[in-house]
Symmetry: C2
Subunit: 375 residues, 2 copies
């Protein structure tokens, strides 16, 4: 079978579809829970499955350092290692090298850096990153790109984008094509529409199974991010999946879908879950807030997650106050359930050609009013 994405419906610029892979099919738009080091933090894979997630993320940088890509390969690949037989997309490591690696030295060929874990020296090149992702058995391999430190001049952003495009060509060269597997190119170019267009042209010339928009959600703000999507996404082929990397809040996801994005990943729902912050249809709550101490109602009425179906806000509040592990476990579960149900609702609205009114309802409820949204 071939890897592909098949459209099912369009509504404005938004699309609903199905991504078909060697490891199963994924309805899009989809949110991918982040499983950085071979585990979605605080979740069993059964719990991840229960939220309805269709594809999860792994991370080249983290896994190459620990436990090591070849070790994961010996264990039968990341699917088997982490007990996720479904599709896995792996980040190329470019972003983490810049955010976590020490003593980075960048040259035309690649990046030399020291591990944030033990200071050991490592090198990543487009070839090595692609090889590692192959060893991990990633369903979707990402190109190795440079992630520029911001702020930067337009010249620096252009030079970085051009380097990433040369690396994209080398990543493609190093990619071993297999049925049902894919490699995605990553559009760079900051918030400059002309640079983004140049980047898209370079990637299309190489040709990939899917296209990601990188270098956003790095502090530019939602308005500039959306403007960049408005300028970029229409240039991407209608037949390939589109992935907005590292994004974002529920409102970011909704805005991304409205601009034609099919795939998202973000640590927000999992990280927030570990720090007592809940995403709900009526905005965010902090479960550590004293006003939940005697609230015997569910976190979010109607939510299908374990936290909401079986426990009270008072209990969740207690778990976080007592620093019990079950607090992060239950709230991560809830947040991932919320993100998945958000995407299911958005997809249903696209299928029924009512995304705009659905989006309005979602945004009004998030903005909320009264006690429920104020904590």
């Amino acid at each position: 079978m071939k890897f592909n994405w098949q459209g099912v419906a369009v509504d404005g610029s938004a699309r609903a579809g199905t991504m078909n892979t060697a490891h199963g099919n994924v309805p899009t738009p989809t949110f991918m829970p982040v499983g950085t080091a071979g585990t979605v933090k605080a979740m069993t894979m059964d719990a991840v499955r229960a939220t309805g997630a269709g594809i999860v993320l792994g991370n080249t940088y983290h896994l190459m350092l620990r436990p090591g890509a070849e070790r994961v390969q010996m264990a039968g690949g990341l699917h088997r290692f982490m007990d996720w037989p479904g599709p896995i997309l792996t980040d190329s490591g470019g972003f983490q090298v810049m955010s976590l690696g020490a003593l980075r030295k960048l040259d035309e060929d690649g990046v030399t850096f020291r591990s944030h874990l033990d200071g050991s020296a490592h090198r990543l090149t487009p070839e090595r990153s692609t090889q590692i992702q192959h060893a991990l058995d990633a369903t979707i391999t990402m190109c190795f790109d440079e992630c520029l430190q911001l702020p930067a001049t337009t010249e620096a952003i252009a030079a970085s984008m051009q380097l990433s495009m040369r690396w994209a060509a080398r990543s493609r060269e190093a990619f071993v094509a297999r049925d049902g597997y894919a490699q995605f190119g990553i559009v760079q170019g900051g918030t400059d529409p002309a640079l983004r267009a140049d980047s898209v042209r370079a990637l299309l010339e190489i040709g990939f199974e899917g296209y990601a928009v990188g270098g956003l959600a790095v502090g530019e703000g939602q308005q500039l991010m959306f403007a960049t999507l408005d300028a970029t996404v229409p240039l991407l082929p209608a037949t390939a999946p589109r992935y907005l990397m590292g994004v974002g809040t529920p409102d970011d996801l909704l805005g991304g879908v409205q601009r034609g994005i099919d795939m998202f990943d973000c640590v927000m729902p999992t990280r927030a879950g570990r720090t007592a912050r809940a995403y709900t249809g009526f905005g965010q709550l902090n479960l550590r807030n004293a006003r939940h101490a005697d609230d015997l109602g569910p976190l979010e009425p109607g939510c299908a997650c374990l936290a909401c179906t079986r426990h009270s806000r008072a209990y969740l509040h207690h778990l976080f106050r007592a620093e019990e592990m079950l607090g992060p476990m239950l709230l991560t579960w809830h947040n991932l359930e919320y993100y998945q149900s958000l995407m299911r609702g958005i997809r249903a609205a696209i299928l029924q050609q009512r995304l705009e009114s659905h989006a309005g309802s979602l945004r009004r409820a998030w903005a909320g009013s009264g006690a429920a949204a104020s904590a």
Copy 2:
């Protein structure tokens, strides 16, 4: 319905039975997972249920300080608060006051102490401890006793035991009897058979639904603990359940059952699970040990837990090295599964009158040989 314990089979001094309570029936001998602060650490209640646990522990001291007994009562009791509809036994707080409370002041009436959480002043008496356990809706309430700091002279141990017996009478007086609920007296007296016999006599005169042996597993060693059980358990009524508090290793449990004990609780399996130590039929393993890094076999072949049925030792090793929460989650699950399956196996052996040979097999396997038992 009345709370009671019904014997099903005896094998030597060991007994198999069923404890019938307002919150369901529990096959004995049984191991009770410890849910100190209203949660069995790192476990969902579904996971606790999946191990086959029949009854869990709560703790008066911890719950009175946070979230507060009256708050739990308002939430519908501890069963509902923590989502465990089955039987719950609550410790009286006597042990934790001595081990955790600061600036303890003991008098004939009770103990004044400061919270280890915030330094606030609190007082526990037999009446207040019993009242708190009632508010928590404990299926089995424990008497409030004094837990002596060791080492101590025989005179001090005798005086402490006598105080605990006066407190037992007051605890009984304060206990509100309800159908299917029970209160257990606690035998004290250190390792002195005469003091233990005095303590048993005092408790029998008061009369309880069950009897616990307290003040053991506090450093006296297994031999002295077993000798104390040999001297104490035969004095207890054959018709009431017998509970050895805070014990212990798999071998301690086996020896306790062989001496007529029906119920156990201990933090060992849960605490060990959080620190990478696994209990198995072939002894203990430390999953952080480098020799597991490439071991693709299950932690314990044949074990029904999530860790063993779906993951490799290599993966568990990775999770602990990466300090991922899923490591403690999976290993706690395994250890509780091991403890429950141990008790199921022991009970089956009693029913089939083959406990002695079963005990021999268990002990030989724990002592083990070869690589499997050496880590």
